[in-house]
Structure formats: C-alpha cells, structure tokens
C-alpha cells in the first residue's frame, strides 16, 4: 500500500486486539509535516491505541505504518526506540515527569538519552522552558509545581529534541480550561515554529479546535472528517 503523497507518517488498515477486545479494526491515518491532526472519539474507542501504534510503542497485529517512507514493522525494537528518541516527542496526561529529577533535568532528559552532554542538554532545555514560560521552575521538582506548569514542562521536554512528530495524548486532560488552553497555544505555536507534525489525541472539541484536521475513531475504525465533508 502506498502512503498518501507528501505524508510524513501514514497508517493503513491497522488492527490491534487486547485479548478479546478489538481496539483497532482497520483504522487509517496520515499526517504531513507541520500539520496538527486531532484524533477524537469517546473513551475506549481506540484513539490512544492508534497513537501508540503510530509512535511505534505498540506493534499493530496487522496493517502498515510508514514513517518518512520507512515501514515501522520492519524495524527492530532498538531502531524504533532510537526513532522515538530522535524523531518523535511525547506528551501524556499523567505520570510522565520523573518526580525525582528537577524540571530542567526532566526537559534535558531526552537529549541526555541521545548522548548530549549534561551542560549542553540543560542549556537547550532552558531555552525551551523559556519559550514555554516555565524557566522560573528549573530547579523545582515536579511535585512542587502546579498541574498546568508540569504539563508545560512536559511539552518543553517533548520539543527539546526538535522532533518531526509530536504525539500528545490528552495533554490537557488533567487541567482546567484556562490552563488547558494556554498549554495548547504554546504547544501548537512551538510545534509550528519547528515545522513538527502534531498527533493530538483528545475527546474535547475545544482542544481539537487547535488542529488543522480531525480524525474520529469509533469502535476501532477511523474516519477522516475533512474527507467526509
């Protein structure tokens, strides 16, 4: 199967089951560089599973995923991990910041995992923290900052490696609307400034409004809203 022309990341006919539960049943997806695509759907519809498959975290049972022309299924676990370290960034709803590291150390972590020296990594981390307006928290630990601040630190961490694709799974799910909107503004602005594609999983229309395009997942099947219109 050929991915749509110009797409950076594309998936066709994805199937994935957890035991008897079918999470994905023939889902399809594609995204272009610099594009923000919201994946919407009710709880349990399979949208997080779609994100995990696209990011190479979970292998699908069948179907194809191509990233920059390369088939993910053909990559080893180590290659997929390396891809996630260097090309992808992640923001989750909960439990993503390492509680014992300071905020700047958390942001610098992906660079350090790539072998960047500590000083250099923390310098780059501070730049991103400034952009996300959390540089004042650099020496605080995640337990000492608010939920909104923590989420901005997480966004900074996701962007510090200047990924080509940013995966955000309910990034504002634990925030109030004001904080949520601010996080979304900063996230999409920062991603656009680096021409990163954003895969945004959400069930909130308010959050999805920041996207260029919406894909709705229901019962494991996906529907591209733009195409449907």
């Amino acid at each position: 199967m050929t991915p749509p022309p110009g797409s950076l990341l594309a998936a066709e006919d994805l199937r994935k089951a957890y035991g008897p539960t079918l999470a994905l049943d023939g889902a399809a997806f594609s995204i272009h560089p610099g594009e923000v695509v919201a994946v919407m759907g009710p709880s349990g519809s399979g949208k997080s599973t779609l994100l995990h498959c696209l990011a190479g975290i979970v292998p699908p049972d069948s179907g194809s995923i191509t990233y920059a022309g390369r088939e993910l299924a053909g990559m080893s676990d180590a290659e997929r991990s390396a891809l996630r370290r260097s090309e992808f960034g992640f923001v989750f709803q909960f439990g993503q910041l390492v509680p014992e590291l300071t905020c700047v150390e958390n942001v610098a972590l992906p660079l350090r995992l790539n072998g960047t020296s500590r000083k250099q990594a923390e310098r780059a981390a501070l730049t991103w923290m400034e952009r996300l307006e959390v540089d004042g928290l650099k020496d605080k630990r995640p337990g000492e900052v608010s939920g909104g601040q923590g989420q901005r630190v997480a966004v900074a961490r996701a962007l510090v490696t200047e990924p080509r694709v940013l995966f955000a799974d309910e990034p504002t799910g634990a925030l109030d609307s004001l904080n949520g909107e601010r996080v979304m503004e900063l996230l999409t602005d920062a991603a656009r400034s680096t021409n990163a594609a954003v895969v945004l999983v959400t069930h909130e229309a308010r959050v999805a409004a920041y996207s260029d395009r919406e894909i709705v997942v229901r019962d494991g099947k996906s529907r591209d809203m733009e195409r449907a219109v």
Partner: protein, 785 residues
C-alpha cells in the same frame, strides 16, 4: 474524647484496609505475610528456651548414671545397663545394653518392657533409618530383632537415633563408667542438678547472638508494616478532600497498618504452628525436638501480640510525619528537614557507655551484667538504623555528575534517602552484629579449641576393646575390613611394687604393653622379636623411667593389676626373669614414650590374658566410601561394647561449636527474611512507577538505562549501609573482645564473608526484580482503559 477519636480513626483505617477491593486486600496480605514471618520467628525464638528445657528434663529423666562407683548387690529391683553410644554417618546413636535382674527392675522412660537378649526396642527415627536403604550398614551393626518402639518420654528429639538392646552376662562388665547396676533412672538426689550452666563468655555469646538475630527481625517488621505506603497515601488524599484533617489522616493510615499487623499476627501464629509441625521432622545442628516441646512462654507470646500491633501504629505515625497529604494529591515535602546527627550519635555512644564498665571482666571469669550487655548491644545496633539515614542523606547529597542511569538513581535517592536507608537497615544491622560476633568467635576460639596432639595423618580411628577381648583375632578382623590400611593393636595392664587390692595401692608402678612384634615395633626399637619374647623398654619421662627401672630388675617380685572394673581380683605376683633384653622406647601413635615391660602374646601369663585392655589404632584409606562405618561394624562384631573414636587434630568445645553454628544458621534465616522484604518493597516501588517507566520507555529510554538505574539505587545505599555496618560491627567486636580480655584482632576473611553475604542478598534481590521491571516497562503500561 481523645481516646474515642483515636479509636474511631483507627477503626476507620481498619475498615478502609479491608474495603479497598482487590488492591486493598493485596496490600493487607503483603503486610500480613511480612509481619507474619517476623512474628513466627519471634514466637519460635521465645519457644526455644522452653524446648531446650524440655529436652534437658527428658534427658535427666532417663539418666542411667553409669559413672557410679557405688557397689550394689544384685536384686529383684536392679538393672545392669551398659552405655554403648556410637554414631552413624555423622549422627549420634544412643545405645544401651540392658539386663534386668529381677521383676522390679526400673523401667527406662518410654519403654513398656525390656527386650530379651537378641532383641531391641528402637526410636521411631532409628526404625525408619533401619528400614531404609541408608541404614543398610547400621543393620549389620545392630543384629537384634526390633520388638518395639521407644515412646516420646524416652527421647529428647523426634530425630534421635536410640535403642535399648537386651543382653546377657552384663554384670561381669560393671566397671563404674560404662556399665553399672542401677535401681532407678534419673539423676540421684545427692548429685544435684546437672545444669552446668554456660561459662560467662559463652553466656555473653548467647546473649549477643539473640540480640543480633532478633534486632533485624524487629527492623523487618517495622519495614513490613509500611508495605504499600505510596498507594495508600493517594487514597488518603481523597479522605482529605472530604474533610479529614492531617492528624486524622495519619491515624487512619495507622489503622490501615494495624489491620495488616493484626492479620500478620494471625498469619504468624499459623506460620509458627506450621513450622512447629515441620520441626518434628527436621533436625538442626544435630538437635531435633518434638512439636510439643515448642511452646512459647505465655508472657513472651502476649508481649509479641501486643508489641507488634503497637509497633505498627507507632511506626506509621512516625513515618507519616514526613508526608504532607493534600486534598488533591500527595505532596511529599520536597526537601525534608536536614537530618540531625547529634541524637543519632547518642545511641551508639550510649551503647558503648553501657558496655564500657564490663571491659576486662572476662579476665577473672567474672559474670557479665546481662541487662547492660543486651542494652549496650541493642543501642549500638539501633545506632546503625539511626545513623544510616543520615549517612545516606549526607553522601547522596554530594553525588552528582554521571550518566543518565546514575542521575536517575542519585536523584531518586536524594528525594527519598529515608526509604532507601530503610530498605537496607535490616541487612546493615544483621551484618554489623554478625561481624562483631565473628570477631568475638575468632578472638576466643583458641580458648575453646585445644590441639589433641594426635597425628591424624598416621591414624584416623581408634577402637577401645573390652578387657579380655582377644587382641590378635580382633586385629585380624580389622585388618580384613574394607578401607583399613594398617592396624596397630596394643594391649596392656599395670604392674606395681605392691598389691592393687589395698586402699593405698602400690607405690611404684609401670606398664606392661602387650602386642605382636609388628605392633611392638611402633613403641620401641626392636632388632629381633619372636612371639614369647619379653623386653624392658627404657626412655621417656625421667620419673616414669626411674619407676620402670626399679620394677624391671631381674628377680624383682612385682604385682599384676587384676582389678576388673570395680571388682578387685586375687593378687597375682610375678618374678621378673633374668636376661630380659633392654630396648629403647619410642613415641607411640599417641606421641607418648612409655618405659616398662613389652610382652608378645605368648609371653603373657595365662591368668592375665582375660584382663588385658586392648586399643586398636587404624590407618584408613579415607577415599573408600563409608570406611568409618565398616570399622564401627567390625568393632561391634568384635565386641558390641567396644568404643570407637575418630581422631581429630583439634578438639573444640561442643557448646562453642553449637553457638557458632547457631549464629550461622540464624544469620542465614534472618538475611533470607530481609532479602524477601527487600524484594517485596522493591517490587512494590516498581509497581508504583509502572506508568512513569512506560512513559520513559515510550520516549525512547533504553531498558538498560532503567535497569542500571535500579541497580545503582540499590547499590549506593547498600554500599553505605555495609560500610557503616562494618564500622559499628568492628567497634562492637573490639569492645566485646576487650570485655572477655582477648586480644583485639580482625579476621578479615570472616568479616568480608559476612559483608559479602549481605551484598549478595542485595544483588540477588536486584536480579530477581529485573524481570518484573522489564515487564513493567512494556508500553501496555500507558493504557488506561
């Protein structure tokens, strides 16, 4: 009001503990199993003195007191009993030959009647052994028909190998030490109690062993009641949300811990009862007990039942001081107040101060004040648990640069140095105590180990025959025994210048050694020798040589010792013939140079032949399996009353050996227990971090990095814990050695062994936690639905 509030909050905690669904139950079970193991160990410890006491009473009740010089006439109420103890495959074998002399002969405890000659009654363990393949060689040694079983009152342990065999003509062997005529079993009133008591140094050892082994159990219980703490904190946050204040929250948390400890008490009792049942089929250090012996002292059991729940509540309240629970989630005080050193130092210093007055008391075998010893050792070891969090905090605060794995580990330790220290506290206490004890054992080992002076390279076994056992045929039987290389059979008796039947006896004595020419050559230099020859051997100790010179003059009338056991024989006089060849006595197998007469068998006057006491010295090919058992079987064939001994280069006090072995077994059990608790808390911590681990893996963290960080997280505190344990252990060891007035020296091999075992426990725990860690790192951890 306060009591009501307390009980209400504790009760609420108790209910929460059980109402938390599967997870709540899991946490209670986790705590209960941990506490239960500790409680079982405590109950077992409180039961040990009682078990040993029952064993002692049973042993006293069946005492046949063969070391009895009292002459008793044969009667309707007398029994002749002979002690023929031996061993089989390293296990002690209690054996008695019995011959009741009348219908009212005293019956040994555990017996309903005596076996007739050719029959025996055996302990259940001996019956099992004889019936099994392992007992094949023993069956050859005990050719009696089994006609009954010795009941529990006649045995001191479930695994004891014992038998009573019927015999005939035993009275002629009565000698006041092996065979006696008795009218009752049990210790005669006049001789008082047999409890020799431990000497003060051994008593000190036992006290310290108990403290050293029980301390880590206490530390373990304290750790066990905190299992699952982090998850509980989150639940408590929800309670804050609905209006409970922080004090109430802490009390509720204490109530939850109380639930675990109460179930733990039940588990502990069940574990103890199971262990008690199993104890009936186990043997440790050659000691077995019947389950009924293992009854904890009621006072101590009540103390355990009260102390454990109380400790659970107190430990939780203490632990919760450092945790701030906010209504919308748990916030740990990010930078806990710096730990203070001064009060932590007071504990070990206080311990040293308690021990100091007893320094040097061992010199005159003085008693040690048991309260000061226990208190001092306890404070020193508690000092380890108090100092360790400070040491960990102080050191990890200074650690910084390094790779990602190192950084993750160091930061985690900096954030919660307390829980890291708690994790290794038990191991550190156990190692500190064990190091101190090893030092003490090594320091005083010389006092309890004596060189026997025996050359075990030439002779490995010795068999003492009964007077009258024919030496030549016996030697031939041993020579034909599988695995025997060389036999030296030496008999002998004493001669003197006067009768042996008078109260004062002879003034001058010397020995007559009887053996064939080959064996005589092992005690003297003989140029030529034929059966029928008699020699005079000279040399050795000056006084003995002078006495021998007096009695070996040709024509001198001398008296032979004809005493048989306790019974005097008729005087037998002998005139030293002229022309006896003088030879030079050389060191015999025992290293003694003995002057006197040397006689070949044909030269011994016929009347003396039945009075010769023979010793057979055997050189063995020890590569032959069961060679010692073959020798013992031959000895039993020659004479069931012969006594077989293994030779050893050194002899160590039995009590010393059992205390040392007890420490090793106890330390192994305690370390295994602590290792288990370490594993549980490690797994629990990993489970708590499941989501974080999955997130880290999701953005590309290598699994190796995370595994390495877990390893560092364990290695750093354990290295610090072991270093502190070494410092405290060596200090305590030095003080204990000073107390018993021994030279302070460090046996680095045993110190490093104990430290190594501690480190190995941590390594094993880390390795065992790696597979679950790898499982937790799977991306499925990110799923919420």
């Amino acid at each position: 009001m306060k009591v009501r509030q307390w009980s209400r909050d504790l009760g609420l905690g108790l209910r929460f503990a059980f109402a938390g669904g599967r997870e709540g139950w899991f946490r209670v079970l986790l705590t209960a199993v941990g506490v239960g193991l500790g409680v079982a160990l405590l109950l077992l410890t409180t039961a040990i003195p009682n078990a040993l006491d029952v064993r002692h009473q049973r042993d006293e009740a069946r005492l046949d007191y063969t070391y009895d010089q009292t002459h008793r006439p044969k009667g309707a109420d007398t029994l002749v009993i002979s002690d023929i103890d031996g061993s089989y495959h390293g296990a002690d074998l209690r054996g008695r030959l019995v011959e009741p002399e009348g219908p009212r002969a005293p019956l040994a405890p555990g017996l309903s009647r005596y076996p007739a000659p050719g029959e025996m009654v055996v302990s259940p363990a001996l019956r099992r052994l004889l019936d099994s393949g392992d007992g094949k060689l023993l069956r050859e040694r005990l050719p009696y028909r089994v006609v009954g079983t010795i009941g529990e009152p006649g045995l001191i342990g479930s695994q004891e190998l014992a038998y009573y065999a019927g015999a005939k003509g035993l009275a002629s062997h009565i000698n006041g030490w092996q065979t006696a005529r008795i009218k009752e079993f049990g210790r005669p009133q006049a001789s008082g109690s047999s409890s020799e008591g431990l000497d003060p140094v051994l008593f000190l050892l036992v006290l310290v062993v108990f403290v050293v082994l029980l301390m880590p159990v206490g530390v373990f219980i304290a750790a066990a009641v905190r299992f699952g703490g982090e998850r509980r904190d989150r639940r408590l946050a929800a309670l804050r949300l609905v209006g409970s204040d922080s004090r109430m929250t802490r009390r509720i948390a204490a109530g939850e811990a109380l639930a675990g400890s109460l179930v733990g008490l039940v588990f502990g009792t069940v574990f103890f009862l199971l262990g008690r049942h199993l104890a009936g089929s186990a043997e440790v250090l050659g000691i077995s007990v019947f389950p009924s012996y293992l009854n904890p002292s009621p006072a101590l059991a009540v103390l355990v039942a009260l102390a454990v729940p109380a400790a659970a509540v107190l430990v939780t309240l203490f632990a919760m001081r450092g945790v701030v629970i906010e209504p919308l989630g748990v916030v740990r005080t990010a930078k806990p107040a710096r730990r203070r050193l001064w009060w932590r130092l007071l504990l070990p210093l206080g311990g040293l101060a308690m021990l100091a007055p007893m320094i040097g008391q061992g010199a005159d075998n003085g008693d040690f004040n048991e309260y000061l010893v226990v208190g001092g050792v306890l404070l020193l070891l508690v000092g380890v648990t108090a100092l360790l969090p400070w040491v960990v905090e102080a050191v990890v605060a200074r650690l910084n640069s390094g790779g990602v794995a190192w950084q993750l580990a160091v930061r985690r330790l900096q954030l919660s140095s307390g829980s890291a220290a708690r994790m290794v506290n038990g191991i550190a206490v156990a190692v500190a105590g064990a190091v101190a004890l090893q030092m003490l054992f090594t320091g005083i080992e010389g006092d309890y180990t004596k060189a026997t002076g025996k050359d075990v390279n030439k002779t490995q076994m010795q068999v003492q025959l009964q007077p009258g056992d024919a030496l030549g045929p016996a030697a031939a039987k041993f020579a034909a025994t599988k695995g025997v290389r060389k036999v030296t059979a030496l008999g002998g008796f004493q001669v003197g210048d006067g009768s042996f039947n008078t109260e004062e006896g002879p003034k001058v004595q010397t020995s007559v050694t009887v053996a064939d020419c080959a064996s005589l050559r092992t005690v003297a230099t003989l140029t030529s020798c034929h059966d029928g020859d008699t020699f005079v051997a000279r040399g050795g100790d000056k006084e003995m040589d002078a006495q021998a010179a007096q009695l070996t003059k040709p024509g001198r009338k001398i008296f032979f010792n004809t005493t048989r056991g306790n019974v005097d024989g008729p005087d037998f006089r002998w005139s030293v013939p002229g022309g006896l060849r003088q030879v030079r006595a050389v060191a015999d197998v025992n290293g003694n140079v003995s002057p006197g007469f040397l006689m070949t068998p044909a030269a011994v006057p016929h009347r003396m032949k039945s009075l010769i006491s023979g010793q057979v010295y055997l050189s063995l090919d020890e590569s032959v399996p069961d060679v010692h058992e073959y020798v013992r079987n031959t000895a039993a064939r020659v004479d069931p009353m012969s006594d077989t001994q293994m030779w050893a280069a050194t002899e160590r006090s039995d009590k010393f050996t059992s205390i040392r072995t007890g420490l090793l077994v106890g330390a192994a059990c305690v370390l295994a227990l602590i290792g288990l608790s370490l594993l549980v808390s490690q797994l629990e911590q990993l489970r708590e971090r499941k989501k974080l681990l999955s997130a880290l893996v999701a953005f590309g963290t290598r699994r190796r990095t995370l595994s390495l960080s877990v390893l560092w997280q364990t290695t750093i505190p354990i290295a610090l814990g072991l270093a502190l344990a070494l410092a405290v252990g060596l200090t305590l060891g030095a003080v204990l050695l000073k107390m018993v007035n021994a030279t302070v020296g460090i046996d680095w091999a045993s110190v490093l062994t104990m430290t190594g075992i501690g480190a190995a426990v941590v390594l094993v725990v880390t390795l065992l936690s790696l597979p679950p860690l790898v499982r937790l790192m799977r991306p499925e951890g990110l799923r919420t639905e």
